[in-house]
């Protein structure tokens, strides 16, 4: 198969994948994570980055009836102060054996942080978190746009290459344009 045809075939496929990624980037992302906060002075943090606004919602549950954890939803500045200086200023805070959250942030980056509940730092704690991120995912969007652009470039290049190939190729045999008899011959036995 000619190079130009391959390019013209691959281009639309990349465009389709690109459009899929861009569409996927705009949809809410749902996920469930199960993790363990090790015993001791440890916390467990999730980071999420979008382009246009960010809303985090979800719920958590600790594996153990009496055990509690503290959940914070933080902006980047708040997380920086928490991670470096231990400050616990957050957009939303909840402590308990289970809980839920639904927080809209003004920033495009947000953090969900879990730390041991009061007196529970002596034990490791298993937590299940189910969350939904509303926003536009940067990675998917960038990947989608990149694939879309590459697809368009391939098609344009393929068309240009096709014209060049056609110009260089020997002239193709023109098919007959009308019904015809060869030398007016008749089959044997035909009147």
């Amino acid at each position: 198969m000619k190079k130009s045809k391959v390019l013209i075939m691959v281009g639309p496929i990349l465009i389709l994948i690109g459009i899929g990624l861009i569409a996927g980037a705009m949809l809410p992302a749902e996920n469930t994570e199960t993790f363990t906060i090790p015993d001791g002075p440890y916390y467990y943090a999730f980071e999420s980055t979008t382009i246009l606004g960010l809303r985090l919602e979800g719920e958590f549950e600790v594996d153990g009836v009496l055990e509690t954890v503290t959940l914070y939803v933080m902006t980047p500045d708040q997380y920086d102060a928490y991670a470096n200086f231990g400050e616990t200023v957050a957009e939303y805070t909840v402590e308990g054996n289970s809980g839920s959250f639904d927080v809209s942030l003004d920033t495009t980056k947000g953090y969900i942080v879990f730390e041991h509940g009061f007196l529970w730092s002596l034990f490791s704690q298993d937590v299940t978190l189910t969350y939904t991120i509303h926003g536009t995912a940067v990675t998917y969007l960038a990947g989608g746009i990149a694939l879309l652009a590459i697809g368009v470039v391939l098609i344009v290049y393929g068309v240009m290459l096709g014209k060049k190939e056609a110009a260089m190729a020997p002239p193709q045999q023109q098919p007959p344009a009308d019904v015809m008899m060869f030398d007016q011959q008749k089959p044997p036995g035909n009147p």
């Binding site: 198969m1 389709l16 098919p175 009308d178 019904v179 011959q185 089959p187």
Partner: protein, 181 residues
């Protein structure tokens, strides 16, 4: 005076007529054949094949683009090609006149001319080929430029196609042929 025996030769298969385009829509997508009539058989010479039946419903406009890009088109020199050469090509179809059970030409509303060819394969299975004897684009453009109306162009082409078939096909096939009038 003496007459000398020279040897025994084989009579070459003769090309009788050509119908430039038979469009068969089946399987993965439409296929355009040139219908070469020899003194022994029909040779349907594949000129263009597409996979649009699969790609367009699945991928829409993008599928149409891919199908168009992937369509295979071949130029065939019917004047110089020998029937045996064309018959050897696996993408072409050969139908000996002796295997033809029924040939039908039918005009549809709008002027298109359908050809239905029923024949028997060497293993005894029955097969049919149904397609439209469509007018080549180039001829259509020429006729339009000469001022003919679309309907008249199709009418004229259908009649001339039928005339050529009447002249080219042996009586054995014509016996099983239904003409459109």
């Amino acid at each position: 005076m003496a007459v000398w025996f020279l040897g025994i030769g084989i009579v070459e298969e003769r090309k009788i007529a050509l119908i430039p385009r038979l469009t068969v829509t089946a399987g993965l997508g439409p296929k355009d054949y040139g219908v070469l009539l020899t003194d022994q058989r029909f040779i349907l010479v594949m000129e263009k094949s597409s996979k649009s039946n699969v790609l367009v419903p699945a991928l829409g406009l993008v599928g149409a683009l891919i199908a168009e890009a992937a369509a295979t088109e071949r130029g065939v020199d019917y004047m110089s090609a020998r029937p045996e050469q064309l018959a050897c090509d696996e993408s072409n179809l050969c139908i000996p006149y002796s295997s033809v059970q029924r040939l039908r030409l039918k005009r549809h509303y709008g002027g298109s001319l359908e050809m239905r060819l029923e024949h028997v394969l060497p293993d005894g299975k029955k097969k049919k080929i149904v397609g439209f004897l469509t007018i080549p684009d180039q001829l259509m453009e020429q006729k339009k430029a000469s001022g003919m109306k679309f309907k008249d162009i199709l009418e004229d082409y259908a009649r001339r196609t039928q005339d050529v078939l009447r002249k080219a096909l042996p009586p054995g096939v014509q016996q099983h042929t239904e003409w459109f009038e």
